[in-house]
Symmetry: C2
Subunit: 346 residues, 2 copies
DNA sequence: CCAGTCATGAGGTACGTACCTCACATTTTC
DNA sequence: GAAAATGTGAGGTACGTACCTCATGACTGG
C-alpha cells in the first residue's frame, strides 16, 4: 500500500527558510531583476532544501496573461501536415482552459529564409515559446539562437535542428524507423530478395536517417537483400508514382518496396496500375487517408507512423512547462514509432 | 493563422444568467442538496447557454481536500504487474502537485471474492475513484455496482468487466493484438507453415480475445497456416517452458510461435535449450527485461506491448476528471498497441 | 559627503472557485 | 393556522501565487 502524500512548501516557507522577504522570493522565482547573486543562491538553496515546487493551479490562476505559444509549420497540401495542423487545432481547444494561447502560422515549405524571418518577428510580447517544424538550414539555426537570446524558447517538432539552441526536439527516432522497416521487409521477403527504395528527398535529414537505419539493419541482419534506389519522389504523388513504376518495370524480380517519404497516393496508384498491389511487400510512412486505404485493400503491408497528435500533445506540454517557468525543467517525451497493419488500424 | 482565444464565463455570470444566487449555482455545480429540480434546470440551461466550464486551476486551488484515487492490482511476482506498479508510483509522484492523492493496493490475483471485498471496503471518505485491474467475476461486477451507488466511480485497467457499471476501460484492444500477431506470422512464415500457440489461461478474457483475433486473421488472410495448441502456460515461466518444449518436440515442421500470455522467460529458455532460438519466428506479449533480451538476441522476433505507463497515465487522467466532477465527461483514451522489434526498442 | 543606483522589505490586491454561516422566504405537514 | 422542513440569498474567507507600489537601507562614484 504505497501512499503518496504531500504537504508542500509554499512561497512563504521559502521566504522564511531563506531569510528573505516574499517579494525577493518572487523575484527569484520569476526571474525578475533586482536580486544579488548571493541572495539568489540563498533562495535557490531553500528551494532545494524544501523541495519547493510552484503550485501550478495557483500560479495559473494568479498570472494575468496566458502562455503564448506560436506554432510554425510548412504550408502545402501535404496530408501529413494537414493532420498535424488539425491536431494543433484540437489540442489547442482542449487546453485553452489551462491558459494556453496557441497561434498556428504557416510558413513557406523548404524556405529557410522565410522561416528565419518569421522566427525573428516573434517578440516576448506575443510569444513565450515557439514550436517549429524546422527546415535544417544555417539561417534557421541562427534565428533560433537569436530567439533564445530574446527569451523565446524554441521546441522543434517532427524535424530537428541539431546543435542549435532549441530547447527540445519532439519527434520519432528516424534511424529506428528505417531499421524497423528493414526488420520487417527482411522477414517478409526471401533470403536474396530485391527491394526497391523511394525517398522524398535525400536533402531532408529525416529521410537520410531512415535510409541510413534501413541500410544498417540490412547490412547487419539481412545481408543477402539486394537494394535498388533510392529514387526521389519529392514527397509528391506524381513523382512518386513515376519512381515506383520505374522500379517495378526495371526489376522484374522485385519483392519489396520501402517508401520512406510522403506522396504515397502515387505509390498506391502505381501498384494498382501495374497489377502488383498485394504481390509486393510494401512498407511506407505516415497514416493518412490514402495509406489507410492502402492497408485495407492490401496494397500496403505496413505503415510506420509518427502519430502527429501525440507529437503535438508532447510539444504543447513542453511549451506549457517552459511558459510556466517550471523549475524542474521538462523532461523530453519519447514519441513512439507507431507500426500499423490492416489488423491494428486505429 | 488560427488563433484560439476565449473569454470564459464565471460562476458569477452563471448566477446572473440563471437569475439565482452564487450559492445556488455552487450547490448545483457541486451536486449539493437543497435545490429544487426546476431551479437545477435553470442553472443547467445557463451552463449550456454560456458554455460554462469550471476553471480547473481555481477549482483545484479552492478545494480543501485532494482527489483520492485508489488503485487495486493483483499481487504476484509477474513482471508485467511490477512494471505497472512502478508506473503508478512514478505517475503518482509526478501528479501529486495537482492534488491527486493516489493509493495503490495489491489484492490476491484471480480471487474475485477478495477483490470484491476490497472494493466494498472503499468509502467516499477515502476514495473518489477506484482504478481496478479487474478479475472478470460475477462478485466483482456486483461490487462495482455497489461502489457506483455509493458514488465511487470505477475505471477498469488492462482487463475489463464488460456490462458492469464501470465508468471507463483503459487498455488495449486484444482482438486487434491477436489479429496483428497473425498478420506478422502469416507474412514471416511460408504458405502452409505450422504455428504453435501458447496461452496463459483460456479462462482469462484478454487471452481469449487475442486467440480469437489471431484465428480470425488466419482464417481470412492466411488460411493455409496449420495451428497447433493453444497449450496453457498459466502465465508462469516453468509451465510455459514445458508447453513450448512440447510444441517443438511434437512438431518438427514448426515455423512459428505465438505466445499470447506471460511467463515468457520460460519460452525464451526453451527456445535456447532446444536450439531453435532465431530459427522459429516468435511473437509474444509485453515488453519486460526478459522479452527485451529475447528481442536483442534474436530468440523473439516481435513483442506486442500494452505500454503500462501510458495506461496508467490515461487512467489517472480519467480519475482526475471524474474526481473534479468535470462537466464534459472525460472521453475514453485509446491505448495503442506497441509493436517492438530489436530495431525499435525504446 | 551627497546624489544616484541597487537590493530588499512590507503590504496589498487579484485570480475563480469551494465551502461556510446565517437570515429570510416559501412550502409542506398535521 | 402554527410548526417544521425546505429552498434560496447575501456575504464572507480561504487557497497559493503573481504582480504592484512605496519605503528604506546599503553601496557607488565623483
Amino acid at each position: 500500500m504505497a501512499r503518496i502524500k504531500e504537504k508542500r512548501a509554499t512561497v512563504h516557507d521559502l521566504a522564511r527558510a531563506a531569510g528573505v522577504s516574499l517579494a525577493t522570493v518572487d523575484r527569484v522565482l520569476n526571474r525578475r531583476p533586482g536580486v544579488r547573486p548571493a541572495t539568489i543562491s540563498r533562495v535557490e538553496a531553500a528551494i532545494e532544501a524544501l523541495d519547493f515546487r510552484r503550485d501550478v493551479p495557483a500560479s495559473l490562476l494568479a498570472r494575468a496573461r496566458a502562455i503564448n505559444v506560436t506554432v510554425l509549420l510548412p504550408d502545402g497540401e501535404n496530408s501529413f501536415m494537414a493532420n498535424l495542423s488539425a491536431a494543433i487545432e484540437e489540442e489547442g481547444r482542449r487546453r485553452a482552459a489551462e491558459r494556453l494561447q496557441i497561434t498556428a502560422q504557416r510558413v513557406r515549405a523548404f524556405d529557410g529564409g522565410a522561416l528565419a524571418r518569421t522566427i525573428d518577428a516573434l517578440t516576448r510580447e506575443n510569444c513565450d515559446c515557439a514550436i517549429v517544424v524546422a527546415t535544417d538550414a544555417e539561417e534557421v539555426r541562427a534565428a533560433v539562437e537569436r530567439a533564445a537570446l530574446r527569451g523565446i524558447e524554441v521546441v522543434t517538432l517532427v524535424s530537428d535542428i541539431p546543435e542549435s539552441r532549441r530547447r527540445h526536439f519532439v519527434g520519432i527516432d528516424n534511424l529506428a524507423a528505417g531499421r524497423t522497416a528493414a526488420a520487417l521487409l527482411g522477414r517478409f521477403c526471401g533470403e536474396g530478395a530485391r527491394i526497391g527504395l523511394i525517398a522524398g528527398s535525400l536533402a531532408l535529414r529525416d529521410h537520410q536517417q531512415r535510409l541510413q537505419g534501413f541500410r544498417e539493419t540490412v547490412r547487419g541482419k539481412f545481408p543477402g537483400l539486394r537494394l535498388v534506389g533510392p529514387l526521389e519522389g519529392h514527397d509528391n504523388a506524381a513523382e512518386t508514382a513515376v519512381a515506383a513504376e520505374r522500379l517495378i518495370a526495371e526489376n522484374d524480380d522485385l519483392e519489396g518496396l520501402y517508401s520512406l517519404g510522403a506522396g504515397n497516393s502515387g505509390l498506391v496508384a502505381a501498384l494498382h496500375r501495374t497489377g502488383r498491389a498485394g504481390k509486393l511487400r510494401v512498407v511506407a510512412h505516415e497514416l493518412t487517408k490514402t495509406t489507410r486505404q492502402g492497408l485495407k485493400d492490401g496494397a500496403i503491408d505496413v505503415i510506420l507512423d509518427q502519430n502527429p497528435q501525440g507529437e503535438v500533445r508532447a510539444a504543447l506540454e513542453i511549451a506549457r512547462q517552459i511558459g510556466l517557468g517550471s523549475y524542474p525543467l521538462p523532461e523530453p517525451f519519447t514519441i513512439e514509432l507507431g507500426i500499423f497493419f490492416a489488423e491494428n488500424l486505429r
